[in-house]
Structure formats: structure tokens, C-alpha cells
Symmetry: C2
């Protein structure tokens, strides 16, 4: 039987989701009519973005669930016309994308790829990098993202140290904590990955003193939060050669202003906040799985508890 | 008790090995006198390169083993004065280095890093790559190196297909074989890694017909053997856009001649045969482990069978 799925989100989302959602539904053997225009009383599921024009859910009398495209539900959870089950988006692509960005840039700096990408210009300069087992990588922050990155990098053989404010354990990773642990984690690190939350305690954490602990010529990767770094101190450390390179995905002001010194600095790589973004393909699989569950009479994934608000 | 270890190899090897070998011996709790100059009748072990000046082993009356620095023993195995146990070098760094190069360049192309490394020049162009699970990587060759690379890349979540002439199985990898399997493995592949041995059957394997099977704009990584690729066909495919980029570590003639078109081609990255090289650090650990075994009366690793010649 055909399942009527209303896609209630802006046109650019439809452009991004139409193909992957159609594919994901087919992979779950759901025969679906996926459309932006279905009579409300015929709708079985609503794929929903809180900024859509649908704000009154009353006419959707046979709708079995509202499946949010966004992780955040704060703009919909208070809607009193919404009495159907509401599911949040929990996209493993956010973590997986972060792991890919961190692992990729760690290997890039480890292997010294940039000189080859810029080109050796006919010179056969054979410099053999050390093995990953001889490369000291330190990850600050061992939450969901930091732990996943630490595991992936350790799995490739790197010598990984992780640090968090309170004690954590990650298999294959030397885990440190507290103020003394931070100094120890940074001392001699060759690649430092910043994945801490931004709090008053972590703002400007990477200041001149801490940048000086890193191995001479070491690399900073920041896919966490822009304000974890004292930008002036980082630029000074790059200019002195204490820090060899910084690859930055997040900034205090985004988009990074066109005249910011990071753009033109030869030892800085800017990536435009792409490390961790919801992917239409993986998010579509989450939605398709929930439709499959609804049709099979199984409990929905990631249901919002309206009394708690999330 | 101090163990006398003669380092019998050229001066440049001594420069590369003195520090890591000293460190590796200390890590095995071996108290060693490591030197290039020890009276022959005092020598306990010889760390040996077949091109060293030591060719007569007769005076080394108390030597317990000759530990070769090279994987190849063809230049020493026929030496009739060598009656001591002879161990080959089996350096896991050769495989591990290959895994790091292949994984790193796969992630580099997957993430589209080059545009960021070359610099976006102030433009905040946010293009989100797909997840690894949506990226088709094909590895041609499932020997020791190909299997290790396929496992590592699959472990990061990529959709990996492996191909070999005869059937092989690698966990997490779709394994194909034979002529039909080759066509299937290449069709639609977005990143193709060449790790086949060079035989009359594999020379020029990547010719115009096979390059045309790869996904439009796909990437070729060649850390295997230069002659696996028909160079003229690859250059034509790069110029037409059928192949988006080639990252090449091996060539028909090495060093790659300064006037070779690969050097200047904007869609080619040349790395100077660095993907798989013996590392002094990991090779030193192999030697130190064999000294430890000799002192503990345990059997040596990687002993050469003189009757077989390897």
C-alpha cells in the first residue's frame, strides 16, 4: 500500500532531500508517495522542518508521526496543535563526518601531503614520514565527537592522548584529565585536535602559554569551537614557527570575514565549517527507518518527550 | 651483562639507525654496546647490510646471529663463511606505511581537501562532502598490502570493493575476481587504488577502456607499480575530465624525469615513491626483539632457511 509522506520544508531542503529520501524509502521497501503537496487528511507522515509553512497540525487527522529534519525541536515542541508523535533527527552523519574530517587532516599533516599537493616541481625529494605509531596526537575533549575521533585515530595506529576535564576512558587512548593532565597532554604533542565544548573555562584555552607546550612545529586542528583559540596568540605562534600549521573549521565570526588574516596566512588552512553537518543521505535513512517502523507497528526512534521538551 | 652488537652497514645507515636502535634496545631492557667497531671475537650479534665491508664471517666466533637490515637476503645467503643463524628484515612499517598513505590520500580526495589547501581566498564556499559510506572505493589487488588497505578503509566506513585475479575474502569488503569481476569493480568506482603486482597480465591494466569504466571525475591512486597504468591513456582521461585526479607514487622510470608531463599536470599529484619504505624506528624494534630473544634463549624471528635461500 502506498504511504503518503508530506515533505514540509523549504524548497532548498526538497532539492537536497528528494533523491536520497526516495532512495532510502525504497531501500526499506516502503512504497511511498513523497510530495510537497498532499491533501492534509491523506497524509500518513510529515517530514518536517520547523520553519515550514505548516504550523497547524489539526487537519492532519490520519498522520502517524511528524519526523523532524532538524536535531533541535525547540521551535515545534510547544505547538499545541501537534498531538502526533514527534521524532527528532539523530543523524550519525554528524559524528561520522567529524571523524572523517579529523582523521583525514591528521593523516594529511602526518604524511606531509601539502608539499606534494602544492607540487615538488620536478624535484624528486624523498622524505619518508615516521609511522603513525611514532606520531603523538592529542585530542582535547572526550565527549561523543572527541571519543569517536580518538578511537578512529588510535585504530589507524597513532599514539593518541585524550584529555577531558573529568576522567574518561577510551580504549587504546591514554586518557588524562584535570589541569595537570592538560599540561601533560599538550607537552610534546605533534598534532592537537580541539573538540571541547565552549564554556567560560575553555574560552581562549589555546593561549600563548599552552601553544608553547606543543612540540616545535606542531599542528593545531580546530573543528570544535572558534573561541577555544586565542587568535592573536595562534597567529604569533605560527609566525614564530612554534606552531607549524593550523587547520581551522570554526571561527569566532562565521563566515570568516574576507579580510581576516587566517585566509591569507601560508600556515593556515581554512575549511568553511564543514566538518560536522547533517547529510541528506544519512538523515534520509533515519526518516525512512521511522516510516518503516510506523508501518510495521514498531516503536519510533528518537521520539521527543513533550513533557521534557526534547 | 652488556651485549656487543656490531653495526655492519654503510655510514648513512648508521646515521639513520643509531638513535632508534639504541632506543629500541633500551625498551627491550637489553644493555647493549652498539658500535661500528668491535673486535670480531667479542661480537654477540651483527646488524648487517649485505653491502657492508664485512664479507668473511669466520672471525666472529661467538656471534649468535646475523640480523639483516634488508628484506632481501639474496646477496648474503650464498656466503659459505656465514654459519650463524641469519634473520631477514620483516618490517611491519612497509605495510603500515602503505595503509597510512592509501588511507590518507583516500580521505584527502573524499573530503575534497585540495581546494582548501590551495585556499578559498576569502570565499566561504560551503560544500559538504558525502559520508564515507556513500563513497565507492575500489582496490585492485588483495595481497598483503591490498588487504590491509581495504580493511583500514572499510573500517573508516567507506563502501569498499576489492578485486583480485583469484578469489579472496576480506572482512567488510565486497570481493570480486576474474575478468568479469574487474569490469564490475571498476564500473562507477569513485576512488580506485592500484595495488597489484606487475606481471604481463597487469601491465597497462589501466588502459583507456578501463579508465572509461570509472565514475566520471573519479580518482586514481597508484602506490603499486608504475607500469600498471597506460600513461598516455591516463593523461588523455585527465584532460577530458573522465578522471578527475591521479595521485601517483610509482612510475615506469624513477626518479620521475623532470620533464615528465605528470609533474606539471594540474590534476596529478606526484609523491616520490614514499608510500612504503622501511622505517628505521620499526625495523629497529624487529632487531631489538631478536636480540632480546637471543639473550632469553628464545627462537629468533624471521630466520632464513639456507636450503631454500629465503
Amino acid at each position: 500500500m502506498t504511504v503518503n509522506i508530506l515533505f514540509a520544508a523549504k524548497a532548498e531542503s526538497w532539492d537536497a532531500y528528494q533523491a536520497p529520501l526516495t532512495k532510502a524509502l525504497a531501500e526499506k521497501d516502503v512504497t511511498a508517495n513523497l510530495s510537497r503537496d498532499i491533501a492534509p487528511d491523506q497524509v500518513d507522515y510529515i517530514v518536517y522542518a520547523p520553519n515550514s509553512t505548516v504550523q497547524d497540525f489539526t487537519p492532519y487527522t490520519r498522520c502517524k508521526a511528524v519526523l523532524n529534519l532538524w536535531a533541535g525541536v525547540e521551535n515545534v515542541v510547544g505547538n499545541t496543535t501537534l498531538t502526533q508523535p514527534l521524532a527528532r533527527m539523530v543523524d550519525h552523519g554528524l559524528t561520522q563526518g567529524m571523524v572523517e574530517w579529523v582523521t583525514g587532516h591528521t593523516l594529511r599533516h602526518h604524511l606531509g601531503m601539502d608539499r606534494h599537493i602544492h607540487g615538488l616541481k620536478g624535484e624528486w625529494i624523498k622524505e619518508i614520514p615516521p609511522l603513525a605509531e611514532d606520531r603523538h596526537v592529542t585530542i582535547l575533549g572526550l565527549g561523543a565527537l572527541g571519543s569517536a575521533c580518538a578511537s578512529a585515530i588510535a585504530g589507524l595506529g597513532f599514539d593518541v592522548t585524550g584529555w577531558s576535564r573529568s576522567p574518561r576512558a577510551v580504549e587504546g587512548v591514554r586518557c588524562l584529565h584535570g589541569t595537570d593532565g592538560l599540561e601533560q597532554a599538550l607537552t610534546g604533542a605533534e598534532i592537537v585536535v580541539l573538540l571541547l565544548p565552549l564554556t567560560t573555562a575553555t574560552e581562549d584555552l589555546m593561549n600563548a602559554d599552552r601553544l608553547a607546550l606543543v612540540a616545535q612545529g606542531g599542528v593545531i586542528l580546530n573543528p570544535g569551537r572558534g573561541a577555544l583559540i586565542d587568535d592573536a596568540a595562534l597567529l604569533a605562534a605560527l609566525d614564530s614557527g612554534q606552531i607549524g600549521h593550523a587547520t581551522l573549521d570554526v571561527f569566532r565570526v562565521e563566515p570568516l570575514p574576507a579580510d581576516h588574516p587566517y585566509w591569507a596566512h601560508p600556515s593556515v588552512t581554512v575549511t568553511p565549517h564543514i566538518a560536522s553537518e547533517t547529510r541528506a543521505s544519512s538523515a534520509s535513512r533515519v526518516i525512512a527507518e521511522n516510516v518503516r517502523r510506523g508501518e510495521a507497528g514498531e516503536p519510533f526512534l528518537h521520539l521527543v518527550d513533550r513533557s521534557l521538551g526534547y
